[in-house]
């Protein structure tokens, strides 16, 4: 089991996550490519992304609260601490689970309770939400687009 997966996901139904061995460079490349696809081509989305910034990419660290792997779009809920020291919940929107599932993303890709650093194109009005760009886990695993 990948080390970032908490125990509750250590179940046979998530064996494919283990099998994928996220650190495998090929899978990483695929995931990066998927992220790139979604990051640069929001046209495949269910709706207009007009509320999200096209210019700014925000990076922050937080703890995964929930991965809503449901249609029409998946949402990654992240708990973080804002600049005023208060806990804040961010909602990061990505593609449809159907598309993502065919490209290697799984319901267990964002295990609740796991710390992660994320990048997002945030909402223009400053609300704690954005279009998902990429994520980097403590063990180096990258999901989506992540260019150093």
């Amino acid at each position: 089991m990948s080390e970032f997966c908490p125990k509750e996901f250590d179940d046979v139904q998530f064996r494919e996550v283990d099998d994928m061995k996220f650190l495998n460079s090929l899978v990483l490349r695929v995931l990066v490519a998927v992220g790139f696809l979604f990051a640069v081509q929001p046209t495949i989305a269910h709706h207009s992304f007009a509320g999200f910034s096209n210019d700014e990419v925000k990076e922050f660290m937080g703890t995964i609260k929930e991965f809503q792997f449901r249609n029409p779009h998946v949402w990654i809920q992240i708990l973080t601490t804002n600049s005023e020291g208060q806990e804040e919940e961010w909602s990061l929107e990505w593609g449809s689970p159907n598309q993502l599932g065919r490209r290697g993303i799984r319901p267990a890709t964002f295990p609740p309770g796991t710390e992660v650093t994320v990048r997002t194109r945030p909402m223009i009005n400053g609300s704690p939400a954005g279009a998902f760009v990429g994520a980097k886990f403590a063990n180096g695993t990258i999901v989506g687009l992540w260019e150093d």
Partner: protein, 285 residues
């Protein structure tokens, strides 16, 4: 003994003759001109598998202007619109740029309709049966039924506009040719062709020719006639690539977790937080 041997000899001698006849017969069958596919389905083309549209969701990539997708400000297409519909399209483009052109699909449950069903993300299945062909889009609800059993369009009093209209078709060799009428007008906001705001009227009449270019590619060429909106025929070609063996298609419960409902009052798409609060409470663009 001699008789037996002679009979055996004659029998053996006849084998090459029979083989030659069979081979010859086989060659004749192979060289016969390919007949039109029978409606009975004994030789319908194999379009099985899971397919995905090539390119993004800009409908007419041959006339696209600007870089990006159908949501990207500045991107537009150039259908042969008459002056009236060009003005309408330009208005839609501006609304799109302002984030005030909600997609009817965001209501969840509204069919994509035709011809937009040929222009969707996610994947497709093309079910060829003896009397109907079904184009099934995963991004749904999206099914286009094409009757190939020889029927005509219904009488006018039996046709009322719908999202997918009425499609009847036939096979010309391995090409499916179908004719679609009785479509909703885009005028009432019920349907669009893509998110740039492409429009058609209720006079749209579309003839589609669909065929397999090779084992991994299906092409659909749509010739659109619309005497209210277009000054000329508008021909758009889409292609679809076959995905790997074993690819699964899933249901698409759009309303299952729709955090982007349409705010009808303000004509825009909302972004909801985890508890349902509206995050884009002001005009963001």
């Amino acid at each position: 003994m001699m008789v037996t041997l002679r009979h055996t000899h004659n029998f053996l001698r006849s084998i090459p003759t029979a083989s030659t006849l069979l081979v010859g017969l086989g060659l004749i069958i192979l060289l016969l001109p390919k007949a039109d596919y029978a409606q009975e389905g004994d030789s319908l083309p194999d379009w099985s598998g899971v397919w995905a549209m090539n390119g993004g969701t800009v409908f007419d990539r041959a006339t696209v202007e600007g870089q990006g997708g159908s949501n990207t400000p500045g991107v537009r297409e150039h259908p042969p619109y008459n002056a009236e519909y060009e003005v309408k399209y330009v208005r839609n483009l501006q609304l799109r740029d302002d984030g005030l052109f909600p997609d009817p699909l965001s209501f969840c449950g509204i069919p994509s309709g035709f011809p937009r069903i040929m222009n969707l993300p996610d994947v497709y299945e093309f079910a060829v049966t003896p009397k109907q062909v079904w184009i099934m889009a995963e991004n749904g609800p999206g099914i286009l039924r094409i009757y190939t059993d020889g029927r005509e369009h219904p009488d006018p009093e039996m046709m009322w506009p719908t999202h997918t209209g009425d499609s009847v078709g036939h096979w010309e060799g391995d090409t499916l040719v179908f004719d679609t009428v009785s479509l909703h007008s885009s005028e009432e906001g019920r349907t669009i062709i893509d998110r740039t705001g492409l429009y058609l009227s209720d006079a749209a009449h579309i003839v589609t020719r669909m065929r397999k270019l090779d084992e991994a590619t299906i092409e659909a060429q749509m010739t659109i006639e619309d005497n209210k909106a277009l000054r000329d025929l508008w021909v758009v070609t889409k292609t679809y690539r076959k995905l790997g063996e074993g690819t699964r298609v899933y249901d698409y419960a759009c309303a299952g977790n729709n955090r982007n409902p349409v705010d009808v009052e303000n004509n825009r798409t909302l972004i909801l937080g985890p508890d349902g609060e509206i995050l884009n409470s002001d005009i963001d663009r």
